[in-house]
């Protein structure tokens, strides 16, 4: 008998161990904290927003935020070129950004992970076909295709989500493929097969949980990139259409006032940067927390 067999060490619960591992992950805590905060602000936007984000008031155009001499607490972040309350628009804009990030990742993640799992697990012709499709997809520049599609069928929130979701699965496919190849050569996959498990069982219950850390990292990266792409499309006027308060659209609408009302660009720009920063920190931290080799 080895020593560990006779040691009476009590078994801490899973949650306790997870919490212990989270302590010390400062970057992750900061990122996740920010992300949770932004998500809460977005969810409770209707309760938190001081004004209707769509209400125009031309008499009160481009009021500066409260920290300027002319600012007031009636509009803490000022108003935009149409007199709409900027804080309210910022809060509602967070909803759009998060909605896009999450929806695009779900669509792209489903497509890409399925392809990567199949190609990595079965190899051979399946792998060749998948590699060919990914190469084809990689030869299409996302922003150009998105522009063309939006120009053709017209821009709307759901069109943007769909287009980005159907274009951004390539990294999921590539990363999941190589992760699957690594896992499938492990003996526990052979043991599951020798136990009589079906292919579906092996792929979903043995392989998928073991490539989850990589999946999470890719998902966060892709969410951040989808949010930025939406901002870029909206900035070009081909994404979310006014009067919806998307952060990219807010920057776009403010560009004419850049030299006179700098905050109109700085505020949504900072919000965007902060959100991307939070997502990336969270993704990095999650990978460290979830991967089993680091646990213990």
């Amino acid at each position: 008998m080895s020593l560990a067999l006779s040691s009476p060490a009590a078994q801490p619960s899973r949650t306790a161990r997870l919490l212990r591992r989270l302590r010390g992950q400062h970057a992750f805590l900061v990122g996740a904290g920010l992300l949770v905060l932004i998500a809460l602000l977005a969810v409770f936007a209707p309760l938190l927003a001081p004004h209707d984000p769509y209400l125009q008031n031309l008499a009160q155009r481009t009021i500066p935020p409260v920290w300027y001499a002319k600012g007031s607490w009636v509009h803490p972040l000022g108003t935009d070129q149409l007199g709409r309350d900027y804080l309210s628009r910022l809060l509602y804009g967070a909803r759009i950004s998060l909605l896009i990030g999450v929806s695009v990742v779900i669509i792209a993640g489903l497509i890409g992970t399925t392809m990567g799992l199949l190609a990595g697990y079965f190899g051979g012709r399946m792998d060749m076909a998948m590699t060919f499709i990914v190469t084809t997809r990689l030869s299409l520049p996302v922003i150009l295709v998105a522009l063309a599609v939006v120009a053709m069928v017209g821009g709307s929130l759901w069109i943007v989500i769909l287009v980005l979701g159907l274009l951004k699965w390539d990294r999921f496919a590539v990363v999941m493929r190589s992760a699957t190849q690594q896992v499938r050569s492990q003996d526990y996959v052979a043991a599951a097969r020798a136990a009589g498990a079906s292919t579906a069982h092996i792929v979903l219950r043995e392989v998928l949980p073991n490539i989850a850390p990589q999946l999470i990292v890719v998902a966060t990266l892709e969410a951040a990139s989808a949010i930025l792409l939406e901002a870029a499309l909206s900035f070009l006027g081909l994404g979310v259409q006014p009067p919806l308060p998307s952060w990219g659209l807010m920057i776009s609408e403010a560009k004419a006032y850049m030299f006179f009302s700098f905050w109109l660009i700085a505020i949504p720009g900072s919000a965007l940067a902060l959100l991307i920063f939070a997502i990336n920190l969270t993704g990095d931290g999650l990978r460290d927390v979830i991967s089993p080799d680091g646990r213990g």
Binding site: A4, L5, A190, A194, G196, N210, R295
Partner: protein
Amino acid sequence: MNALLTADALTRSFEVGQGMFRRRRTLHAVNGVSLDIRKGEVLAIVGESGCGKSTLARMLLGLLPPSAGAITLEGRNIRDLGHKTVARRVQPVFQDPYSSLNPRRTIASIVALPLEVHGVGTAEERRRKVLDILDRVGLPQRFADRYPRELSGGQRQRVAIARALVMNPEIVICDEPTSALDVSVQSQILNLLMDLQKELGLTYVFISHNLAVVEHIATRVAVMYLGRVVELADTDSLFRNPRHPYTQALLASVLTPEPGLGLPDTHLGVAFPDPLNPPPGCSFHPRCPRRFEPCDKVTPALLRDAGGENAVACHLYPPSPANASLPKTKN
């Protein structure tokens, strides 16, 4: 003679491609192997690295379809029996317990996997079965909800054995079950395997390159060289009276604990032949100290000796009229 699992002229070849435009070449990992695995025995398969032991094991488990030949379980081809039926009766213990346990499942969930797959009992009954079998392989029940990374190599191998035994299989195929473990733990695992064999009436196919272990636990030994069985004998006669020159060299290569003796000389030279391009005739002849005229032209068949139990594939032991040939091996 009651053969439980039979390999009949089993061959497995792999296409080895070296780049897109080069000609693909065929590697015969296992080449015409015929073996009977009898109920209750421990059949050891020995040979140096790359001789096809593990490929043979994977075929016997039904994980790898043979290129030619057949595997029968009590007279029925395992291809026709279905994957689950074979899984119920033949189970593996792999070499590396660090790779054979899913790091994301608890010990209980790993051991319960075969029960789940075959839909045995309710969750509660399965749990009881798992705790029973953990007890049987010498693991305390409080390990059930731990993860593999919290266990040592020996403990992990016990978990792998528990998983193999939880469905009450008849045959356990152990692919070098102790070679990844510390020496001190190896004997514990071997003793556990032997105890379980007696208690549960198991049949083992025991793949190893550790001859001391084989002598200790096997009842019969098959010696493989370059994908073929070159000698098959009961353990006693193999170790007392090895007949094939390769078996003799293999036994001579066992390191002695005597410090002054140095490395034993096997007279084999260093030229391990290229399995992509095996030598003609007897594949062992380029290294054989006793080769003579027919060796580089005619492939010797695995022939039973007069007693009918042991067999050797070597021209030094010519067939006599009394000898019965085993099923002819393919060249």
